[in-house]
Symmetry: C2
């Protein structure tokens, strides 16, 4: 178990996997991020807008929690999105402290286009893999999604 080269999957422990995963994630995102500049919106705004598009309207606090930022940060992100006409904001009837934030049609379109660009580029790389490798990645994505859901 102390062979360092040529290790097979089963020989790699959680630490090795974590290390490789971390490094791979960094490099993947650096490349993917460049595709997003075409939208004219920054990464934080795009990410928050995506949550709204896929998850439907929410309050500012819930959106901040989903994005793992503090409320003041999200407040400013939402202000920027509103300024660009990508979200609209309305008061909550039941609790006047809350604000309900929702993506506009324009916001939905932008997210769809951004996703297409980003994903197309990454998918192009993945498309060159053997289908066996692609299946392995698909399985891994499921595992990662579960890991993230159950994070503590």
């Amino acid at each position: 178990m102390r062979r360092m080269r040529n290790r097979t999957s089963t020989e790699r422990g959680a630490r090795d996997v974590a290390d490789g995963l971390h490094s791979a994630a960094i490099h993947l995102l650096r490349r993917a991020r460049k595709q997003d500049t075409a939208t004219g919106e920054g990464p934080a705004r795009l990410s928050a807008l995506s949550v709204l598009v896929f998850g439907g309207q929410t309050t500012l606090g819930r959106l901040a929690a989903a994005e793992q930022v503090k409320p003041p940060t999200m407040s400013r992100i939402v202000a920027g999105l509103k300024h660009s006409g990508l979200v609209h904001i309305e008061a909550d009837m039941r609790d006047a402290r809350r604000v309900q934030i929702a993506a506009t049609a324009k916001g939905v379109r932008l997210v769809q286009k951004a996703r297409q660009r980003r994903i197309a580029h990454l998918a192009k790389q993945l498309g060159r893999l053997r289908s066996e490798d692609l299946r392995a990645l698909a399985k891994a994505v499921e595992v990662l999604e579960k890991t993230i859901r159950d994070w503590r």
Copy 2:
């Protein structure tokens, strides 16, 4: 957008995998990054310092290219690292325009500790997975490393 629930691995195409991978990478890194706050240095500085530690000394321009940022950005990052005593800078004998940047012993120690913290935290999450899932991730990491190497 059109990712459906209840699809099995083999039914997911490159686009779906790319989408899930992108999202998972974002969320993984957001969580991992929080471990780094203990170092007192920001993410850009830590990342650049890591390159120096693992890759040895280089010039500012090469470091900027490695980190995929523009020279002015790297100039400021390096200035911060120098201010914290994590790198030292010396003139290049052959070309006086260039500056050679290298991690100090303190810089090396900081990177090692940061990496340990980061990886330990992620590994702790992965350690809760079934060993079958962990093997799937390990395989995926190999595939990703290959994908990144062959990127074009």
